[in-house]
């Protein structure tokens, strides 16, 4: 079946422009952001972020629209320009330094790839540096724009974070891949946390039974909140061991593998209160898989296959009626072995890059929420899940 996405892409491009324009507040009447929380914290939580000095009395502008414009030009090249214009020099400096590190990382990675002719000995680390660098560039630019435009008057200061001991997901995903007959999938996952440990089994089942994917993660949190603890930020560092088994029945092969990643989240509130509510996710690791072929009457040797695992995401906590833990995130994921796999382009460069994705977690009650997920690689993947978790704040929870 031929599926043409050209008209959809055209409409989506226009929609993107409209959303970008309409997201900027009519800001002429807005004042400089007040960083103090509107209400007191629910517990004795100590703010992790170092209080940022108030904006200068005489910033370049108090108009957020103008600052957002400056965050784009010259902000595209000089990250932090939006904050600098609003008088938040420390935050601006932190974003600019982040951009510098990111550019250096990208250039070092790219130069290594070029100079070594994509050497088998250096390609993995050089690609990881390039991916992280490019992701950080996007993140520092996005954070500047976010901090310039966001104006919740500190509402997020009163929103504490607490990892749930238990969380489950049940949902549906559609995979549009012209190479495979599958389409709809039922998705299930369960997350259990105890102290620093996390255990997450998950499964995808194709509606037509042509495909199934099992995955299990066991993680240990080296730093960050644990169940029973609450805090204003969700910084964390986890080591994750994963195992994966996937069956492609009509295609006559199975893929089974193990992987190791280091997952981190850094809250941009460390750079200044205007960035409260935004964060960056970084994940780096390595995977190795066995591909086994099930061809009737044939003894086909298995293949082994290794993977660079790298993921960069920029996210924002949701406000308003959304409960704690609600967030939207955009990301780049370098892995090539899942349903969305890597990006295809009409030009010269295809195959190397991973996918782009976005997910939205929206808890409309303390226990119930929705997960909206979309990815674009060599296939489109999108869908919706119902989330259920234990209540976010347990009686007697300690702060950290």
């Amino acid at each position: 079946m031929r599926v043409s996405f050209a008209p959809v892409r055209g409409v989506a491009g226009l929609l993107l422009c409209c959303v970008t324009i309409q997201s900027a507040p009519a800001s002429a009447a807005e004042t400089s952001p007040q960083l103090a929380p509107r209400s007191a914290p629910q517990s004795a939580a100590t703010p992790v972020a170092t209080p940022t000095p108030a904006a200068k009395a005489n910033p370049l502008t108090r108009d957020r629209g103008v600052a957002a414009g400056l965050a784009m030009v010259p902000g595209l090249a000089l990250h932090g320009s939006g904050h600098y214009a609003l008088g938040h020099e420390k935050t601006a400096r932190a974003l600019f330094i982040t951009e510098g590190i990111a550019v250096a990382l990208t250039l070092a990675g790219y130069a290594t790839l070029r100079a070594s002719g994509n050497s088998r000995h250096l390609a993995g680390p050089a690609l990881a540096a390039t991916v992280f660098g490019a992701g950080l560039i996007f993140a520092s630019f996005g954070a500047d724009l976010y901090g310039t435009l966001a104006n919740d008057g500190g509402a997020l200061d009163s929103r504490l974070r607490a990892p749930a001991r238990f969380e489950s997901e049940f949902g549906y995903r559609y995979v549009a891949d012209p190479h495979f007959s599958y389409g709809g999938f039922v998705v299930q996952s369960l997350t259990l946390r105890e102290a620093g440990f996390r255990f997450t089994p998950s499964a995808w089942f194709a509606n037509d039974s042509s495909n199934v994917r099992y995955r299990v993660e066991a993680a240990y949190r080296l730093q960050g909140l644990e169940p029973g603890q609450v805090g204003p930020l969700d910084d964390h560092v986890e080591i994750v061991l994963g195992a994966l088994h996937q069956r492609f029945l009509p295609e006559h092969f199975r893929r089974s593998g193990v992987e190791f990643t280091l997952d981190t989240r850094f809250d941009f509130a460390h750079f200044g209160d205007t960035l409260r509510g935004s964060f960056i996710d970084l994940s780096l690791g390595y995977g190795r898989a066995k591909v086994s072929y099930d061809l009737a009457g044939l003894q086909i040797p298995s293949d082994t296959d290794d993977l660079l695992l790298a993921r960069m995401g920029l996210g924002v906590a949701l406000r308003g009626r959304a409960e704690s833990g609600s967030e939207v995130r955009v990301y780049y994921d370098h892995r090539h072995d899942d349903y969305a796999a890597g990006l295809l382009t009409p030009g010269r460069i295809s195959g190397v890059f991973g996918k782009l994705g976005a997910d939205l977690r929206w808890f409309f009650t303390p226990r119930l929420g929705l997960l909206l997920d979309a990815q674009v690689g060599s296939a489109f993947v999108g869908g919706l899940s119902l989330l259920f978790r234990e209540s976010r704040l347990q009686p007697g929870a300690s702060s950290r």
């Binding site: 996405f5 997201s23 976010y146 072995d337 295809l344 295809s350 994705g357 674009v376 060599s378």
Partner: protein, 369 residues
């Protein structure tokens, strides 16, 4: 910007960027290769195995993609047609299929460029361009050269060594002949081929995708095709976009069936799997890669040949012998001690792939497998 706005903007961007069939346009253009019409005659090349470079009532020029090619003409007027054929086996002959007679050459004996003068009357004419014995099963030798790109200035070194290989029937190419695939580069590539003593049958690589649509197919023919030589099947696939288009996959199913009981060589530019998986100079989807490899294994393919990675790798996928050879001179992979090279294979329709060797252009002794 609110979280919701971020979400909607990013989702829109995802859909705007999405592209699941980047090779579709090229694959459809394959169907046009080998067909041409003029006021006095129509031309149809069997299986699209030649690009029609020009057609008028006086001249028909073909660039062959295979050692043996059938050409049908529908003639509407009495004509004296000059048939010019390039990229031909040096021993190529022109036979009229209806009468079985071999037509005399006008020029090009022993060369890869040949011409004939045909006296045609209105009606249908069927010709076969083939070397004597091309359809008889037996042992022969071919070479593999890919990834020339920006090194076209130094290509004559390589051709000299290829010409020195004894009893070579033809050269096979797994793409990236040029840096951008622009017309002046294709012209230059063809010009340099004048010194090569054997024809060069190729598919395209990602570096031929600079122009949209790529000019490659107008010059050197189909990106996806199959031919047979002395009982051995050769299937060339367009993987230049790190995927095989679903339409080409449909064709592949019939090509695999054709060669089920024969020795079968499959070549493409980007390999399904990179032996260095963390680099992923390979298909964008590991699942698509495994699907393709499983199909090739099920069909009993004997040998897979790839380019794209500017080095030399010998490995197996699903038990099928696989070689990556990107030694045409494009920026080499460092610290691999390979450099510019090409490969030479001996094959036999009854006995399979007999041997392979790597011939280094700049240094070192051949690597025998």
């Amino acid at each position: 910007m609110s979280g919701r706005a971020y979400g909607v903007a990013w989702l829109s961007l995802l859909v705007a960027l999405g592209c699941t069939r980047p090779a579709e346009e090229r694959t459809l253009r394959d169907l046009e290769v080998g067909h041409a019409k003029a006021s006095a005659l129509d031309v149809e090349v069997g299986a699209g195995l030649a690009a029609v470079r020009s057609l008028s009532r006086d001249t028909l020029s073909l660039w062959l993609s295979a050692p043996s090619v059938d050409v049908s003409l529908v003639v509407r007027d009495t004509l004296s047609l000059g048939l010019r054929v390039e990229n031909a086996l040096p021993a190529l002959e022109l036979n009229e299929l209806d009468t079985g007679r071999t037509l005399p050459l006008t020029s090009g004996a022993g060369d890869t460029k040949k011409s004939w003068q045909l006296a045609l009357t209105p009606g249908s004419w069927h010709f076969r361009l083939a070397a004597p014995g091309a359809r008889k099963k037996g042992e022969f030798r071919f070479a593999l050269l890919s990834d020339v790109q920006e090194a076209i200035d130094r290509i004559q070194d390589v051709y000299r060594l290829i010409n020195a290989e004894p009893e070579l029937d033809f050269l096979l190419g797994a793409g990236d002949l040029t840096e951008e695939g622009e017309i002046d580069e294709l012209e230059r590539f063809q010009h340099e081929l004048a010194t090569l003593a054997v024809p060069y049958y190729t598919t395209l690589g990602n570096h031929e995708l600079g122009d949209r649509p790529p000019a490659y197919q107008d010059w050197f023919g189909r990106a996806n095709f199959q031919f047979a030589h002395r009982g051995v099947y050769f299937t060339m696939l367009d993987s230049a976009s790190a995927t095989i288009d679903p339409l080409a996959n449909d064709w592949l199913a019939s090509w695999l069936a054709n060669a089920k009981n024969s020795v079968h060589v499959v070549a493409m530019h980007i390999p399904p799997f990179d032996p260095v998986g963390t680099r992923n100079a390979a298909f964008a989807s590991r699942a698509e890669a495994a699907t393709l490899v499983a199909k090739l294994a099920e069909a009993g393919v004997d040998l897979t040949l790839y380019g794209h990675i500017h080095s030399y790798y010998s490995f197996r996928n699903a038990g099928i012998a696989a070689f990556i050879s990107g030694g045409g001179g494009a920026t080499p992979e460092r610290a691999d001690d390979i450099g510019r090279h090409f490969m030479v294979f001996d094959v036999d329709a009854e006995r399979g792939v007999l041997s392979s060797k790597v011939v280094r252009v700049d240094q070192g002794a051949p690597i025998d497998e």
